[in-house]
């Protein structure tokens, strides 16, 4: 289809689509006048029901916990999918021999490298803090998990493999994301066995505004944090991997 024909089709479609959106959006309540009872009910039952101060966290992990379970598995799927799609194929590919050092690009100057190393610890602490306080303040497993990922990512940038030891980092991350994702599902199974319904809370609520409150929510946050950290690190690591996939004969 020629460019012009495509634009004619698109232009006609977009006119219809735009009028459709205006027609539909015009039926919404005015901005700021929303009066949904469902949301207000949940907002006001988080504290009495779960002794947790963030009703968003309680909605995410308790009232509508199954959405979040599946959401974590979507991220998990993406990480597995990226690994599968970027895998080096046995037969048709050849991997140009490259020194291990250039596979993972690191910061060039020594000063920058030590600066980055110094940043690792604070970022790590920040990530852990955000994961652990998810049920009290804004943040939680997802946000904290991304920050934890950044911390480990700084380790790569600094060019050292501290903390990862002899483990292959990618394999360790796959284990982390697998355990995190399956952990969420298994905590839910605990609810099914102990409390009677899948993802139902089966732990004491604790006192409001304390670190140990909100029942199973902090545990779920930790599982999510682990999963997100592993999954995103795998994705970024796969893109970072400078091994080039070359086709035989196309060079």
């Amino acid at each position: 289809m020629s460019y012009r024909l495509r634009m004619v089709v698109f232009g006609a479609g977009v006119l219809g689509f735009a009028s459709l959106l205006i027609w539909g959006l015009g039926g919404l309540p005015d901005f700021g006048d929303f009066a949904g009872r469902y949301g207000q009910y949940l907002a006001h039952s988080a504290l009495p029901e779960r002794h947790a101060t963030s009703s968003i966290a309680v909605t995410t992990f308790d009232f509508r916990g199954v959405d979040t379970l599946i959401e974590e598995f979507i991220l998990f799927t993406a990480a597995v999918g990226v690994v599968a799609l970027l895998r080096v194929h046995r037969e048709t590919e050849e991997v140009p021999a490259e020194p291990e050092a250039t596979r993972w690009p690191t910061a060039q100057s020594g000063a920058l490298r030590s600066l980055i190393t110094a940043l690792v610890a604070p970022v790590l602490v920040l990530g852990i803090d955000i994961v652990l306080h998810g049920h009290l303040t804004p943040g939680g497993g997802f946000q904290g998990g991304v920050i934890l990922m950044s911390a480990l990512f700084l380790v790569y940038l600094a060019g050292t493999h501290i903390g990862l030891g002899p483990l292959r980092p990618m394999a360790a991350m796959e284990t982390a994301e697998g355990i995190g994702a399956a952990g969420f599902a298994l905590i839910g199974l605990g609810g099914l066995i102990i409390a009677g319904a899948y993802l139902e809370n089966f732990l004491p609520f604790g006192a409001p505004n304390h670190l140990v409150s909100g029942g199973a929510i902090p545990l779920l946050n930790i599982a999510v944090g682990l999963e997100v950290m592993g999954a995103l690190l795998i994705v970024i690591g796969e893109f970072l991997d400078q091994r080039l996939l070359m086709q035989k004969g196309k060079l």
Binding site: F10, G26, G32, G36, G39, I56, G81, P138, F239, K250
Partner: protein, 114 residues
């Protein structure tokens, strides 16, 4: 004026689609897709907003205050994760497409016809 957030959401959806249809580069196309997705964040959060409401987190306020809807925030959180996953997968496919076709321009691909 109260229509503005909805109008912005609609605009983002349409401009993103325009970018996708006219795109000459797959990476550009993927970024445009994320602009379309940002339209849904704006719409969801605008729908659940209540004038004068505060965030539904009770760390420092009393019980009966006017709060914005916590559910749209939850939905948008999920949506943000979906964005990250879709972009990651599409970029992986884009890298592979470049390997196969030696270009990122959809006009120069075309293994599939008829």
């Amino acid at each position: 004026m109260s229509f503005l957030p909805y109008a912005v959401a609609a605009w983002l959806f349409l401009i993103g689609l325009y970018g996708i249809v006219t795109s000459r580069n797959l990476v550009h196309l993927v970024v445009c897709l994320s602009v379309v997705q940002s339209s849904t964040y704006v719409l969801l959060l605008a729908v659940g907003y209540r004038s004068g409401g505060t965030a539904p987190i009770y760390a420092d306020i009393s019980h009966s205050e006017n709060v914005v809807d916590p559910i749209v925030a939850t939905l948008t959180l999920t949506d943000v994760v979906v964005e990250a996953t879709v972009v990651a997968l599409l970029l992986a496919l884009t890298v592979q497409a470049h390997r196969r076709f030696g270009t990122l321009d959809p006009n120069e691909m075309g293994a599939l016809r008829g």
